[in-house]
Symmetry: C2
Subunit: 409 residues, 2 copies
């Protein structure tokens, strides 16, 4: 079974938002073994929408369209689908009732324009609305066309409740499973030299890698009749990749923050962060997944030298002699936040996000610090790229320095 | 002049990354008045790449392809472009020299596979590499095909240095300019009722709106012979949109954090945050843009009741009586962080990100607090959706509560 995903909305073509819906739907399709061969995005233009939908239906077994199901005159996905399939739109009585109830329940009048949301192509099956916009799907012979709203949360709910179950039936028990091996401090080119022959030799699983924010992610993806069989294909390849990457490979699965969280749980330890250039991103990353209260004690963002001293107790002599962007300051910051939040582990990052120099140091200069069991240490890391990228590299370097400390301590 | 953007890479189709390159390129093209009619993404598959490139060249004046220019066997964009244009690949002597120098400068051997990066289609113009991957462009009659690496930072540099100047010449002085009006606390449907007739009546400028994280962004986009003329078309429409949205419209331009930053600069005031469920996201948002040290004093992330008391001085009696998720606690958190960081303004957020209940409150319960000139206040906000969404709504609500306080105080 293969598929294409079409995003609808002029906001995509103007670059106002990234097409994260295509990303999320692709992830869900991979779980059920449906190959994705193309993503497209078109604006709120009837002719170009019809062209894109019609082409995709000519190539793929499954076509998923997101966006353009709202109540405004711009929302014309229903019309485009109806025209391509040559089926009239019909007003769905059940949906009209639900729409009226939705507005009545909130004590608001329903604008007449919202009634358009109850129109679906003849013969289509309704996917129940999560907000006001219903989705629908149409089966034409072996082909399946699914239309979902563009609001990410509504789309996700409908994927889980309606589309994934439908596709699971169609795809049989086939499954695509991926495992990621993280490597820290390696370039894409270096990674390639280590594993190039593996990449060339592999067809199932396949191996791909991506670099960003100081991290290389080697993704191993297998297809099999079910998830367990696919995983069994991955495991020996994963072991080989880890052996080739050596010390750079991060043991465990998940994001760096999740892997550090697991280590902290295993040590029954808590963590606090002291952040300068990262502005709170390390804390936000550590608390992204549920259950962070098991190990997360707190974070202090100290931007100025004054607060580095007053809030986290970095000695003024250290700040004067070595500067706020220094290994010594990073080590004191890590110890200071562990003390303030009574945490076992302290993590710090201080540096220059750019674009201007700071404290005599160029953009990309980063010092990360760790304090663990009353001993503190720091490392210099060279970031590059724009402000976002330097901050991302600092987050990676700080989390990885802490992970290494716990893994060996 | 109209264009299409093609992203290359199986990682896109597996959902491992979002196609943010298409977003960024679209933004840059809008600046120079080049319309984008379609985005596509295809995997590292020669036939499907050729098909996508060939179709796009059949429709658009300008086609920009990103990705697939690296040194690995997966990287076959050069081959696909050469095949579609029916031009042989030629090894570029200058690029070979630069590649060797790049590796020599880092004290590393160049893998032979990297030489493939010096191959470009006959007659193409090289775009100088920012890493090891060069880009190139080919002009065929009126059509322009541009190939850029997929690494976002490299792509951005090449867009700025080579592609935007090239397109500026082609597009003449035409410009597309957008202005965004932010509305807080409005649904998309409510916004629509306020401005539906404006949306229907407008062709230049056009009006679109997007909702997410508790914020509606109404985007007004005009085309004109130059930026000043385009802006002149926007201004009366922007004034009308603001008048229709009334109190919900946020005065100023830019993100909420930028608008709050401007207000703080105008008051010569500083800000500190106290964050529970947001884990540092408010601090990260306030420090995203350069120059935040003008107004940002610091952030304290206090996840547990213990640290709310010990670090930020929330009275234990308040925590016991009202709970950590309460308006009283939010107000004390805001005052506590202002005190700790010696800031004029304190902002706080406490609540339940989910998926489980916490402190007897369901996911989505959010209290935001503000402390300004020795007076503290709090507000209850109802979030919804998944953990990411609830945290995003809390960031919006906290920043907006602070903005309103400063605007009226």
């Amino acid at each position: 079974v293969n598929s294409e995903i079409i995003g609808v909305g002029t906001e995509l073509l103007l670059g106002q938002i990234a097409n994260t819906n295509a990303q999320r739907i692709s992830q869900r399709l991979a779980e059920v073994g449906v190959d994705v061969f193309r993503h497209s995005a078109v604006g709120d233009n009837l002719d170009r929408m019809k062209e894109a939908i019609s082409e995709a239906l000519g190539r793929a077994d499954v076509v998923i369209v997101t966006g353009g199901l709202g109540p405004t005159p711009d929302d014309i996905t229903r019309d485009a689908v109806a025209a391509v399939l040559d089926r009239p739109l019909e007003r769905h009585a059940g949906l009209v009732t639900e729409l009226k109830e939705f507005f009545a329940g909130r004590g608001r009048d329903m604008p007449d324009s919202n009634l358009r949301q109850a129109d679906i192509p003849k013969g289509a099956t309704v996917i129940e609305p999560e907000g006001t916009a219903p989705g629908f799907y149409v089966e034409e012979g072996a082909r399946l066309l699914v239309a979902l709203p563009g609001v990410p949360w509504e789309m996700e709910q409908m994927m889980s409740k309606a589309v994934v179950p439908l596709l699971r039936t169609r795809a049989g028990d086939a499954a695509t499973v991926s495992r990621e091996v993280l490597g820290v401090g390696l370039g894409e080119s270096h990674t390639h030299r280590q594993i190039a022959d593996l990449v060339d030799a592999q067809t199932n699983p396949t191996i791909a890698y991506l670099a960003g924010h100081g991290l290389v992610r080697v993704r191993i993806t297998a297809k099999g009749p079910n998830a367990a069989d696919a995983l069994a294909l991955i495991e020996p390849i994963e072991a080989e990749v880890r052996s080739r990457l050596g010390q750079s490979a991060v043991p465990g699965h998940g994001s760096l923050a999740q892997i550090l969280g697991d280590l902290l749980r295993a040590h029954s330890a808590t963590v606090a962060t002291a952040e300068s250039l990262t502005g709170g991103l390390i804390g936000a990353e550590l608390t992204k997944a549920e259950g962070a209260s098991d190990f997360f004690a707190g974070a202090a963002v100290v931007y100025s030298s004054e607060t580095k001293a007053s809030v986290l107790g970095v000695p003024r002599a250290v700040l004067d002699e070595h500067g706020p962007v220094s290994g010594q300051t990073a080590a004191h910051l890590a110890a200071g936040t562990a003390r303030l939040f009574d945490a076992d582990l302290g993590i710090s990052a201080t540096g220059v996000a750019g674009p201007a120099d700071h404290d005599g140091e160029p953009p990309g200069t980063i010092f990360v610090g760790v304090s663990w069991r009353h001993s503190s240490d720091s490392q210099l890391v060279r970031g590059y790229g724009d402000r976002d990228n330097v901050r991302g590299i600092a987050v990676t370097a700080a989390l990885d320095f802490a992970r290494r400390t716990l893994a060996t301590g």
